[in-house]
Every structure is written in C-alpha cells, then in structure tokens.
C-alpha cells in the first residue's frame, strides 16, 4: 500500500476544494460552525424543542448534531467512494495505482472533516455549560466501526458503479431515504413498534444511537449491536477483495 500517495491525495482533496479562495482551509471550519450554531439556536432557543428525558433547552440541538456529524461523515464517505474510480479516471488510466487504496483517501479526508467539526461542536457545547464526561473517549471507537463499514460499502459500490453508471444516482437517493430511516432528527422510541422492529436491521441505527448515548443520555453505548456492524463491515471487506480479484481487469478496461 502506498501511504505517500494516500496522504498526498488527501491533502489534495482539501487544497483543491478551497483553492483560489482567500480564506482557504479556514472555510472548512466556517461551514460546520455556522451549521451547528443554526441548529443549536433554532431548535434549542427559538423552537424550544424538548427532548424526552432531558431538561436543558439545548437537549434536542445536542441530540440532532451528535447524530448528524457522524452521519455526514458516513454518507459522504460512501457516496464519494462510490464514484471515486470514475472521478480519478485521469489517474487510474495513466498510472498504476492499487484501486483498493483510493477509497482510503476519502475515508481519511472525511475523518479530518469529522474531527474539525467535532472540535467545533465540543467548543460550542462548553459555552452552553454542557457537562463533559469521560464517555467522550469512546467516540473514536464508535467512529472506527462506522468508517470500516463505510469503506467496505463504498468500495463495493465503487466497483459496481464502474459497470452501472446509473447506480451513483441510485446511491444518492438511497442515502436520502436511509437518512430518514435512521433516528437522527427524531427519537427511535416515538416510532410505532413495526417500524422499530424494521429499523433493527439498519446498521446506522446502532452507530447513531451510540453517539446519542454518549452525548445526550451519557451512558455506555450497547456494544452488542456495534460489534455486529463491525463484523458486517469486515465480512463486506472480504467480499470486496474477492470481487476485486475477479473484476480488477474488467474495471481497468472499462474505466
């Protein structure tokens, strides 16, 4: 595996996004800052939404953001990985690169965004008088589980998209639906029983719930379901490798 290449591509990803603008990299702080502020102010103070089981005005805002930041990292990783072979066509068709490493730079790049956003979130939380607990140290663990799964899924879709170009549209629609089938803006317990039973099969349910447990309910998340997600991710990676072995030649020919 070529680490220099992954790091250079990641760096490139950030530089390119803001190249030519005066503030450059600072923009990647400004966007999440504004977003988080809006959510906190609109839902916390203006709408006065109360979260069952919490007593501060900030409860719902924290709930929303604690789920939204990881979800964004997950969704971006998968959707961007799914088109990475087409996006980097100009490189793949000219230089020998291991295709399996390309989604890794996206995982890395999204991780940086995730960290920056989370730091800002924690900064704002400290202003609201939020009580920090050692539970926050579990975040990297949950995040790793989530991104292993994201890489596995992104790589899988990336290979398929080479053959079915339409699939990338399907993926973006799928993520719209998936978002609403994950308790990010609403609370899992308000769903009817049938929906609750169905949502058990959504791997992102246990991931997002883990963040909620850590941030909002301040309890140790259920590792039982998270382990399932991790195993699913690893199995999918093994499957990806098998498919890649079989299809690499065709993927390179079609790109």
């Amino acid at each position: 595996m070529n680490f220099s290449l992954i790091i250079e591509l990641t760096k490139r990803d950030f530089i390119e996004r803001y190249s030519g603008s005066a503030l450059g990299f600072v923009w990647s702080f400004i966007y999440p800052l504004i977003n988080i502020l809006i959510y906190m102010i609109v839902f916390g103070t203006l709408m006065g939404a109360r979260l069952p089981g919490t007593d501060t005005v900030w409860g719902y805002g924290v709930y929303l953001i604690a789920g939204l930041i990881p979800w964004t990292a997950f969704a971006n990783t998968v959707t961007r990985s799914s088109t990475v072979f087409l996006d980097k066509k100009h490189i793949i068709s000219k230089i020998r690169v291991d295709l399996a490493t390309l989604p890794i730079f996206i995982v890395l790049s999204e991780t940086i965004t995730f960290c920056v956003t989370f730091m800002i979130f924690l900064g704002i939380l400290s202003l609201t008088g939020y009580l920090f607990t050692p539970l926050l140290l579990l975040i990297p663990l949950v995040y790793i589980v989530q991104q292993v799964f994201a890489y596995a899924l992104g790589f899988f879709l990336g290979m398929l998209v080479v053959f079915f170009r339409d699939l990338k549209e399907v993926v973006s629609i799928l993520f719209q639906v998936w978002f609403w089938f994950t308790p990010i803006v609403y609370v899992y317990q308000i769903l009817p029983q049938l929906a609750q039973d169905m949502l058990i099969w959504n791997p992102m349910l246990s991931v997002v719930s883990a963040y909620h447990d850590i941030f909002v309910y301040q309890k140790i998340p259920s590792f039982f379901f998270l382990t399932h997600v991790l195993v699913a991710g690893i199995v999918l990676i093994i499957l990806d490798c098998l498919i890649y072995k079989k299809l690499e030649k065709d993927i390179r020919d079609f790109i």
Binding site: N2, S4, L5, I7, E8, R12, I15, E16, S19, G20, H90, I91, I92, S93, K94, I95, R96, V97, L160, V162, F163, F164, R165, K246, L247, E248, K249, D250, R252, D253, F254
Partner: protein, 412 residues
C-alpha cells in the same frame, strides 16, 4: 530489465458496461472480442533501448499500458526489475490552479516517489525544468512548453529503472528536446532500459538497439532496428502502391542550354545529365503524373570508397519540392576508382503541379548520421529543367502536387 513472454490481450466490446456483470451472473456471452495483442514476447536488457513500430491501431499503446501496469493482460508473464516510469503519463494529476511546486509533489507521488525523496530532489527538478521563479506560480499561467518541461523533469528524476517513451517527447522546443534526449542517453548509459514507441523511423534507427514491429496485435518482426524499419517501410509502401495510375507517354522535345551554378572540389565531375520519359525518349517537357527517368554520369578524379548521389527538384521559386540521396535511401552505391565514370539512373513518378522545375545534383563521400557526409564533393544547382504540363486526364487542383484523393460523398 524488462522481460515479457507470451503477452495477449483481448478487449471485450460490450454494448454497455452492465453487460459484463450480466455475463458473470448469467454465464451467457454479451460481447464481441477485439484482439489487441497476441503472443508478444521480448526482452530489454539493462542499458538497452527497444523500439516499437507499427501503424496506428496496431497495439503499441496497449503494449505500453500493459508494461506500465494500467492494463492487465489476459495471458503471459511480465517481469520488470524496479520502477517503470512512462512518458505517456507526463503531467498526470497536474492541477492548473496549483503552483508548479505543489504539482511536483502530486505528480511525483503518483509516479512513485516518496515525500522525502521529492524534498531532496525538488531543487534538481526545478533546475532541469528551467522554470525559475515561475515554479511558485499556478500552472495555468504556464505556456504548454513550460508544463511539458516540468512534467518531463519530474519523470526523469523519479529514478525509474525502465522508461517508456512515447511520441510525447516531440513536444517542447528544439533546445529542450535536445536536453531531454541527452538526459535519456545518460539514463541509458547508467543502465536503464528504455522502450521507445515512435513513428519517426530515423529516431528508431538511431536510438534503438533492437526493434519490434507490431501489426494487428501480432509481432511481425523482431531484430536490428534497421531491418525492422526497412520491413515496416516496405509494408507501408506496398499498402500505398495499390491504386496508382499507370503511366502514359507525352510530347517530346529536346532542350537548349541551361544556366547553372555549382560548387565543387574538382574531385568529381558531372559529365552528363539527361531526362527521359518511360519510352526512353529525351524530354524537356512532360504531362504531369507520368514517370520519368533521370540519368546522370559522374567522373571521379580520385578514389571514392563510399560515394553517394543526391537529387533535388526545385520549383520556379527555388523551393525544394523533393530531395533525397542514395545514403538517405539506404542504398550502397559501388566504389569508384579514379578516372572511372559512374552512371546513376533515377526512375520516379512526377505528379507535380504544372510549372517549371529544375534539377540539382549533389555528390558526396562517406555518409553518417541522418544524411551528413564526411566529404561534400559537388553540389551543382539547376543543371537541367523540365516543364510540367497539365495532364488532361487528371483532376483540376492547385498546390504543389496531386495527392490523388479518394472522395466519397453520401447523403445521410
């Protein structure tokens, strides 16, 4: 060292990429095969250069792509020692918004350098590219020549052990091309292997140690560059010859005197110059697009061990429309002893645009390189002229000569 054995590559042509997956899932065939390469084997030792020639679509690019690992062959083995860098990937990953220096890092990493390696070599890269302070400007402000200079400079500093050189080298000004060539020679002298794909037969002959010729994916010839190039040119000529108009006679009239200017060492003398049609009648004018025969005789006043004869045809503006010599044609005329007379006959078609043309003769001894000689013995301008008349059976056209196009018009 590069060693490949029995490389074959078929491209499956699908209606859409999805058909490939359908094929895997349902085990039915949805494709047409296109054989790009079939059973190619060769070896390039350290310090050697292999030329690959062939017409467009012969499979040369596919072969280069296989060597650089972008395309995976269906069969055969590839053995390459060390790192391969290709000039076909010159400037890959360049972003025009970013500075030259930033692009050195990206492109350098892509072609396999580590960050530390680039840190160490960036001065050398910038030096070689001669970009100076421009290196801190975005690439979009560069001229295309500057971009090429930067790209080549990065590629050559990546320390490959094998270099895949494509036609790309023809970009850039003559000075920088020379500089690149020298650098490539250095690379070869240091033991690097080069695979060189070109349509420039002279370059193949002068640069390569061995050559292969590919036609329709098959390796037709493998051997000394000169032999392979000759074979290639013969094949191309054979293909071109089909459809040539058979010749016919025209009016004949004998000439008067012609003024001429000449430079000579006095060691040879042009004793006769005559122009004939294909019926061996001496002519002064002719219909265009007929064959002519030019005969001249040269008397040697000293021994010539490797004599060569040249002929130049110029139009009324003094512009050369065609010139060549026996050395450039790869001929080896006999030696002439002092006092002997050599007779040189040229038979050629004459499809020139109507007008007056003059003939000039050159004689030299001992050729080397691309049409250079150790001794230039005689250059005699405008020794004779011929008037070319319109061929009544020909098409109307203007320009320099009749290219005899085949034109098909369709209503869609």
């Amino acid at each position: 060292m590069i060693k490949i054995e029995g490389i074959s590559k078929k491209f499956r042509l699908y209606h859409s990429p999805a058909d490939r997956l359908r094929e895997i899932l349902f085990h039915t065939s949805y494709h047409k095969d296109f054989t790009a390469l079939e059973n190619i084997s060769f070896e390039v030792r350290n310090g050697e250069t292999l030329g690959i020639i062939g017409q467009n679509g012969a499979g040369k690019s596919t072969l280069l792509k296989i060597l650089s690992g972008i395309v995976i062959p269906d069969a055969g083995t590839i053995h390459i020692d060390g790192k391969v860098t290709g000039l076909l990937e010159l400037g890959t990953g360049f972003n025009t918004e970013m500075t030259g220096l930033e692009n050195i890092y990206m492109n350098g990493t892509l072609i396999g350098m580590t960050h530390d390696e680039i840190d160490r070599k960036k001065e050398a890269i910038i030096d070689f590219s001669e970009l100076g302070d421009f290196i801190n400007e975005p690439i979009k402000t560069y001229s295309s020549g500057m971009v090429m200079r930067l790209a080549f400079s990065i590629a050559i500093h990546a320390d490959p052990t094998c270099f895949l050189v494509d036609e790309a080298l023809s970009v850039g000004d003559a000075y920088f091309q020379q500089k690149c060539m020298r650098k490539i020679q250095e690379f070869r002298a240091a033991g690097g292997s080069i695979v060189f794909v070109s349509h420039d037969m002279n370059a193949v002959k002068t640069l390569c140690d061995m050559a292969i010729m590919i036609d329709h994916g098959k390796m037709i010839d493998y051997g000394e560059p000169k032999d392979v190039v000759d074979f290639y040119q013969n094949m191309v000529l054979k293909k071109m010859h089909q459809g040539d108009v058979p010749a016919e006679i025209s009016k004949v009239e004998k000439s008067s005197n012609v003024k001429n200017s000449s430079i000579s060492t006095g060691e040879v003398e042009l004793v006769l110059f005559k122009i004939f049609n294909d019926k061996d009648e001496e002519i002064l004018y002719m219909d265009s697009e007929h064959p002519i025969k030019i005969i001249f005789e040269v008397k040697a006043h000293k021994d010539l061990d490797d004599p060569h004869y040249g002929l130049m045809i110029r139009n009324n503006l003094g512009l050369s429309v065609f010139e060549t010599n026996t050395y450039c044609m790869n001929l080896k005329p006999e030696k002439i002893a002092e006092g002997k007379i050599a007779r040189i006959e040229w038979v050629m078609n004459f499809p020139l645009y109507p007008g007056t043309y003059s003939f000039s003769v050159g004689i030299a001894n001992r050729g080397f390189d691309i049409g250079s000689f150790e001794e230039y013995l005689l250059l005699s301008h405008d020794v004779d002229i011929i008037k070319v008349l319109l061929n009544s059976q020909s098409i109307r056209y203007s320009g320099i000569f009749n290219m005899k196009p085949a034109v098909h018009c369709f209503i869609k």
